[in-house]
Amino acid sequence: MSVTDIQLQQDTAGHDDHHEDHDHELGFVSKYIFSTDHKTIAKQFLITGIFWALLGGALSVIFRLQLGFPNMDLEWLRPLLGEWITVEGKIDPEFYLAMVTMHGTIMVFFVLTAGLSGTFSNFLIPLQIGARDMASGFMNMLSYWFFFASGVIMFVSMFIETGPASGGWTIYPPLSALPQAMSGSGLGMTLWLVSMALFIVSTLLGGINYITTVINLRTEGMTFSRLPLTIWAFFITAILGLLSFPVLFSAALLLIFDRSLGTSFYLSDIYIAGEALPNVGGSPILFQHLFWFLGHPEVYIVILPALGITSEIISTNSRKPIFGYKAMIGSMLGIGFLSFVVWAHHMFITGMNPFLGSIFTILTLIIAVPSAIKAFNYITTLWRGNIIFTPAMLFSIGLVSFFISGGVTGLFLGNSVLDINLHDTYFVVAHFHLVMGAAAFFGMLAGVYHWFPKMFGRMMNDKLGKLHFWLTFVGVYLVFFPLHYIGIAGFPRRYYAFTSFDTFGGFTDLNSLVSIAAILTFTAQFIFLFNFFFSIFRGKLAPANPWKSNTMEWTTPRFPKHGNWPGAIPRVFRWAYDYSKPGAKDDFIQQTTPYSHTPESNLEHENENAKQEDLTGVDKVNG
């Protein structure tokens, strides 16, 4: 097996014209389990991500039952939750917090970071830049298995007696540091931290690989200015991850010290459970700074890949070039840079110096500009297109809709003076679930529908895909839009019930509606699951280029082997967005088509390029 690897490495590095086109017989284990093939690893990430998405979704359905129907008898959940159902048939309030925490952790890290970046960066980077595999297949494999181990630990933590971590996914100390403060801060929190440490290792291994691969292994002619926007998005995402996850690691490490070794990084002046703790001099705010230094780039780590996928899909299915390719890259770079200097907008009312609040307000509202550019450019791409509504396209349009709906509310929350009243209310919940939760989730689904034919060589069912889209799209809006009203009315998040407060006596009907919508939306995902798994085995065989797309992955065989292209790697001559070019025979021209083959549609400067093209061997390879 290692021999194969070396062979592949050489091929990739040297762009050899010949490649052994025979099957390397691999055993089941090295083919499907400890595989170093980026395509298999991507599928492993995807299927693991789907598992976690279901679990995270199921948790949200259970706590939505509590919020929507506070008087409901949940005795029937006892076989599943055991002692977490109280004798009155209610969810234990502490377990409610545990579920909220696990929902957040799972969705943000396991689904929308590993499941989204892990799947599509792995799958698309080599295929779209013309590489045989990742720079290091072995590190790539490690990346998955660290993620897997991290997941196992998180999963186990849900079944221990004291319950999993329950202090919210942001795990602010002292709550998360002191087992006396809540039972979830005992062993559950320790497991959370261990799991997250492994997760960070996985992310870093993956991220280094993505960056190296994009920089070093692009095929001949695939300059940075010809990269598809998906690759740009994955590339920038990986850089963000590489710079920010180590800071989370340090935050977690100091928290581990505070918990286990008696240090006082985050702890000071605490009296709890009948005793004054010896810790003095620490600052809980320090943790928040460290956490959000990761935490804010993290939301862009979640959304950028989704936006990259959307750019590709909207352009392909509008049969138009993406509008403002350079502006799209520029705005992603801008978002990437600014994402590191806005973290404290999560902390306006934590006691941080108000002057810092002013600075972070300014920086935060600046980041709205590149985000707005992206939204406008998507809409302009649709303008005068010839739009084909594949399920992937529908999900991409849905993403843009969510990105706008959730994005505009950022103008309230990013403005420190308005955040005073909205901080930690359901307004925040509505905001981030739309702009990064649902939007990134839709990006992931769009990606699955679009690249399923490349992943499994078969088509997913179009009708079921559309049904899935409409149920999910309407469902998501019904779940999250009403939360804005509840938030403006001041309802705090992470509340088990609102019965203690007269101020929050209203909106019981609306909360029930939200819960019903959540249950329906969750149920609709089973249509997708069925479509996904059934199509792997029973779907129609996919044509070579089902969406008539320009990017390189569609020049591989239906079932690409390890190494992706049976012969030499095709060369690239143009950008990825020559759709409906005036004069062209078809409404798409693949990146591998030389300008000298398309004199009828070339623009003036492209004719110049055509003259300089070296076409040695192109007919044979790019055929």
């Binding site: 309030p93 917090l97 919210g168 002292p174 709550l175 403060a181 702890l267 000071s268 605490i270 009296y271 004054a276 003095v280 600052s283 809980p284 509008s318 049969r319 509008f323 403002g324 390719y325 350079k326 006691g351 108000p354 002013s358 509202l365 500009v369 998507y378 302009t380 649709l382 303008w383 005068r384 010839n386 084909i388 509504f389 349009i397 706008i404 709906s405 103008l411 309230f412 003076v417 308005l418 005073i420 009243n421 069912n461 559309k466 009203y485 403006i488 001041g490 705090p492 088990y496 203690s500 101020t503 209203g506 909106f507 089973f526 249509i527 059934f534 129609k540 044509p543 089902p546 078809d586």
Partner: protein, 363 residues
Amino acid sequence: MLNLIIVVAVILVVAVLIIAFRVTNLVDVVKPKQKDADTNVPSGNSAQGVLMIVFLVVGTIGFFYYSKTEFDSYNLPIASEHGVITERLFWITMVITVFVFVVTQIFLFGFSWKYRYKKTNTAHYYPHNNKLEMIWTFVPAVVLAWLIISGLKEWSKITGPAPEGSEVIEVMGYQFAWAFRYPGKDGDLGKVDFRKIDAVNQMGLDLSDRKGHDDFMPTQLVIPKDKPVHLQIRGRDVIHSVYNPHFRLQMNAVPGLPTRFWFVPTVSTAEMRDKTGNPDFNYELVCNKICGKSHFGMKGIITVLEQDEYDSWYKEQQENSWLKQNPDYLSQVPNELREAAIIASGLEINVEQIESSAQGSSK
């Protein structure tokens, strides 16, 4: 029985999905292929565009209808001076964002419908337009700059130093309740030390500081109307957050990091009872930072009184200083301060009595 029904239901749903899958796949196979190159355009493409418009129209109507009819239930009456100003900025931002939101959604779904696939159409090759891109870079930038500037002016006022002569009150959050402390006769809060906290001395009053001898700790937060109230906030165990939506007031209560918030209440509890038509109305102090099992039950009552009512309430409370109610703690007062402490706290005993009782109760 229930389990059986669930199993049967699941089997039926899966069966329906399989059949739907097979039928639509077969129909696609059997259906006569169009001669042109649009075999990859799924049937019912236009219907999807129409559904987009339906969604847009129904969604927009629903949004405006609900926002209008339910306005009073989500828009709480304002009860503070700065609240009026932040509320104005809130609604200005709302107008701008709703405009952007509606217009962009109309374009998004409108274009999707209008430019849905038609065999005779060709997409317009339109890779970029620098002028257009400049416009939508600069217009949002200018609007945002304006929002920022108007917000920051207020932010620095609200978070700036409290005016001279504000009513200083300490609020402490702990699992799972609030404690309040008033400076008493001398107008100064005494020192606290978390090591002095015990079951009775909840707030950790440090009795070696004479300023604390007359401090009193009522069970409610009582504040005067139309006077700046300066809350000094701390947390005892984990982070809590002092929140009240009527005053548009929020500040975290952090252990080890004292925080503060000042505001001017403008509507008394009695007036708000009239206004809302709810004779039981109370301003509620909400904990808005996850703090453990009973986070959702961590409530305090805030009562806003007219100035004269407040003054007489204060006078009455002054007679009930914490030290007076817990005379045992006189033993913690240094000897040289005892006499002064007895006077300041209003204790009705003499020093000898205390010394004997202190000996009796010393641990």
